[in-house]
Amino acid sequence: MSDAAYLNLSDLTLAYGKTIAVERLDLPIRKGELIALLGPSGCGKTTTMRAITGLLKPASGTITLDGKDITRLPANKREVGLVFQSYALFPHLSVFENVAFGLRLKKLPSAQIVKKVEDGLAMVGLGQFQSRKPAELSGGQQQRVALARSLVMQPKVLLLDEPLSNLDARLRLEMRTELQRVQRESGVTMVFVTHDQNEALALADRIVVMKDGRIEQLGTPEEVYNSPVSRFVADFVGFENIFPVKDGQLQTQNGPTELSIPLSAQTTGLAWRPSMVRLGEGRFEGEVLGVAFAGGTREYLLKTPLGPIKAEMDATAPAFAPGSRLAFDLPTERAAVLDRM
């Protein structure tokens, strides 16, 4: 795996003073991939991103990019682009000069600079705004300028910090499509940081779920969404019914419950989405505590011998009234199998 890695973080520990933010992280990223670093605030995703840019020096470990060790390379020599969450446009320069900034430092001939800036702005659909100042643009437009400013430098890796979080819902969809298109056209390796699982699922080729400075799970959106490996990831992607497993038995409030299928020895938990709970038939019985209509479905909260269970049923099926008792099942074959609780 790490032979094929274009950008490789190896045994990376990052700290602010004495506070360790990221501990012994290994993360291989392939060329042309779109990777999401996903996790709640404080999980180390932004810190990891800053380490890739060189704005933060690692406490230990190495970073290699395109076959070269860049761990000690200063930030201005790394050929790594970053689109800031706040966009960080230069307020005193026009849109054109913002995008041209890095090219001018490279001392390119001015005809070439003009060509590249115009191509870059055209790529993000802002060709007509060249002479405006950043303050005269909307948030979405500012972000496109920031994107163009990074792209014209043809970075080896483009990092994006919460690229969609400052945009309204409509712009968000537009920008998401835009980012995918830009990535397809330029082939640049992209790493973006987000706390929004939907954003990560929709955009990324692979998702790195982080928690407390460590990787919880690394996988495709399908893997992370359908087969979370830990309690944290399961909870994060919407498996709301999570129970510990010990010696092949489900541990519940009323003691162990025998499971019908064999589980591997590492299995420490099982998790079900509300939609996976089968209502109306099955091994268990519970009482309806509450029911809420949610458009296409009805959401139930059940009081059961296993503990509280959240279930979801098609709204076209007849509703169970609060207080009524009903049979239900947790189909073991559909459950997510967790290694870590």
């Binding site: 930030a75 446009l89 005193h92 900034f101 890095g102 430092l105 990074s150």
Partner: protein, 259 residues
């Protein structure tokens, strides 16, 4: 109703004390008489004209201008890096440095003047001009640091990181990105420093020597010898100069945002 009356009365008194002296000086400057007096005896511009004929006024004006301009520039050259370091880095002795830098605002000018005279001018035999230059630079430094700090705090530091990631060195980033965005703060600091230096009396009083006097000190000396209205005329001219500078600065820079 009475409380309203009191507040108008208070307001009137405040204006009287603030603007009254200025009105009296201008009136005295336009006097046709031979001594400094109010109300003026007759009306004439002869004392205004006389100001430009007094040689010591010309020399001390040149010295004061020199100190105000170059003292302020020196304070900015020292103060901008201090302000930048204080706003961007967590310095080990940050608080101490800030206190030391603002000391000249808190310590009375008389004491600063006496200390500089006793421990700089006398033991080191520093020339009067150099001593004045050092003193004025030190006095302006806190204003320069404060005003420039205020505009640095309004400038997001991530634009500097953005510049670095586009290939710029830290030093080049300061000149290409930081400086253009704080230039109105620097200009505001310059004006404030200039006015502070130009109007400085207590420190200059201690350090002025024979033949080398700043304009305010020269005016005091002049008055002790010649009690004619030309001092009032000069004071009125200087007041108009200060007012015009501050008015233009407010008009074009929004000066009051920084001070």
């Amino acid at each position: 109703m009475t409380s309203r009356l009191y507040s108008y009365l208070t307001l009137a008194l405040v204006f009287l004390f603030l603007i009254g002296p200025f009105v009296i000086i201008v009136a005295a400057a336009l006097s046709g008489g031979e001594t400094l007096a109010f109300p003026p005896q007759g009306l004439s511009l002869k004392w205004i004209a006389k100001v430009f004929e007094v040689e010591s006024f010309r020399e001390s004006f040149a010295l004061s201008m020199f100190l105000a301009i170059f003292g302020t520039l020196a304070a900015l050259v020292l103060g901008v890096p201090v302000a930048y370091a204080a706003s961007r880095y967590r310095l080990p002795f940050g608080e101490t440095i800030r206190t030391i830098v603002s000391a000249p605002i808190i310590v009375p000018g008389i004491i600063v003047g006496l200390a500089l005279l006793r421990y700089l001018v006398i033991p080191l035999d520093v020339s009067v001009g150099l001593a004045l230059f050092i003193a004025h630079t030190a006095l302006i430094l806190p204003y320069a640091v404060r005003v420039v700090s205020a505009s640095l705090d309004n400038l997001r530091s991530d634009i500097e990181e953005a510049a670095v990631l586009l290939g710029s060195s830290r030093v080049a980033t300061f000149f290409r990105i930081v400086l253009p965005n704080i230039q109105s703060g620097i200009l505001a600091a310059f004006i404030l420093g200039f006015v502070t230096s130009f109007n400085q009396v207590p420190v200059s009083l201690f350090l002025s020597g024979p033949g080398v006097r700043t304009l305010p000190i020269d005016m005091i000396w002049y008055m002790e010898i010649t009690y004619d209205p030309s001092v009032a005329a000069l004071a009125a001219l200087l007041a108009f100069l200060s007012i015009s500078i501050v008015f233009l600065a407010e008009r074009f820079l929004g000066f009051s945002r920084y001070v």
